[in-house]
Assembly symmetry: C2
Homo-oligomer: 205 residues x 2
DNA sequence: TCCAAGGTATCACGGCTGTGATATAAAAAC
DNA sequence: GTTTTTATATCACAGCCGTGATACCTTGGA
């Protein structure tokens, strides 16, 4: 019974299955066969949508990037205009925005885990390098925009070098996310938010 | 010609070969065969020293932990008593100590790359979990001690919560190290040091 | 001198991997 | 109704993997 299933939907199902495998067993275990089994598909069917392993991996990584980017865009839009807010409220709003990159619930936790595995793999896998670079540039842009809006609203202490602060905050968020995913018994979601709030508070005072 | 080689030295050579493979091709490519080839050993010889793959991986990770821990200890000892130093000098010294965890030269760069791959693998590999946890606890202890000594010397601004600041600085260093290794075209060693100096400066002001 | 131990090397097995080729069948296009 | 496309499914192949078993040789000690 071909053709009755939307191929776009099928690809999404396969990518979701891949993510479940990566979260549960790591990227190394995400072979075509294990992903097909997780998606309840025959490997032949899977290869009808993704001819090679590299094609599947790149499509999955691209899908994840688009999903997170869309969520960040929605969060920024929902934040709206911060002209009406007090400095304290602006800082709290910024913390919530940055929290979209932290493993504060199961969904974000899974995302960070997948990104971590892909990032580590991208170091030695040329097929993933450009995508990993795209992630790094994207998060820097997002963090930089958060800081710019704070400064434009006069919420930041004067004399800050925004490029250095962007690098500092990006590294902080990445490090927090990684530690929270790798050592949840050491770093909880609450700890992450507290550290981010402390950091933003120090940038304001 | 058996017995003429120190088995301790042999194990060290194997571990060094493993690290070279991991840095060059990633942990996934570090099979018994590739490591044996890199060490110019027959796989049978390698298995005479490491019966199983898990034993080799755990020994390698443990060796790396001990090497870095020893270098950190030496750096702290060399730092000596900071009672005679000015606040500015104490901050610069602390930055140098934290720099031991950053990829500021080829050796440290290789270490961070290896740690990153092992950390990512430890998330889903039970055989490495305790070692990864040991690394996380160790770096937190090191960072915490750096902050304690600064505070004891009165170099830090009052009112800081040292536990939160330890988590913040640990995440910052981890994130910087990761980003510098994964995206050297985006984050150089100089950038790392500048960010760390900025952070310590903000803790002092 | 003989024996045990340490070190090197090779073979074989089952298992998993990505991938090419191919068969079958249903739906769509003409 | 015929043909073409889309989809599912299976087989086979070469390659790498960890590992068990084993053989051979050199050295140290009894």
């Amino acid at each position: 019974m071909p053709k009755i299933v939307d191929p776009v939907e099928r690809r999404r199902e396969v990518v979701d299955a891949l993510f479940r495998v990566v979260v549960r067993d790591g990227l190394q275990r995400a072979s075509l066969r294990t992903v097909a089994a997780e998606a309840r598909l025959n490997i032949g069917s899977l290869r009808h949508y993704f001819a090679t392993q590299e094609e599947l991996m790149r499509f999955a990584m691209t899908s994840m990037i688009e999903r997170v980017a869309e969520r960040l865009r929605a969060a920024v839009e929902e934040a709206g205009d911060l002209a009406v807010l007090s400095t304290r409220e602006r800082l709290e709003l910024s913390a919530r925005l940055l929290g979209e990159l932290l493993p504060l619930d199961e969904r974000r936790r899974a995302e960070v885990a997948v990104f971590l595995d892909f990032a580590a793999a991208s170091r030695t896998d040329p097929a993933l390098r450009d995508l990993a670079s795209q992630v790094a540039v994207g998060t820097r842009g997002f963090v930089g925009r958060v800081l710019e809006r704070l400064e434009a609203g006069g919420a930041l202490r004067p004399g800050l070098r925004l490029d250095v602060e962007t690098e500092r905050l990006s590294a902080l968020v990445d490090g927090l996310a990684m530690n929270a995913v790798l050592h949840p018994e050491l770093v909880s979601g609450g700890h992450c938010l507290e550290v981010v709030r402390t950091h933003l508070g120090a940038l304001a005072a």
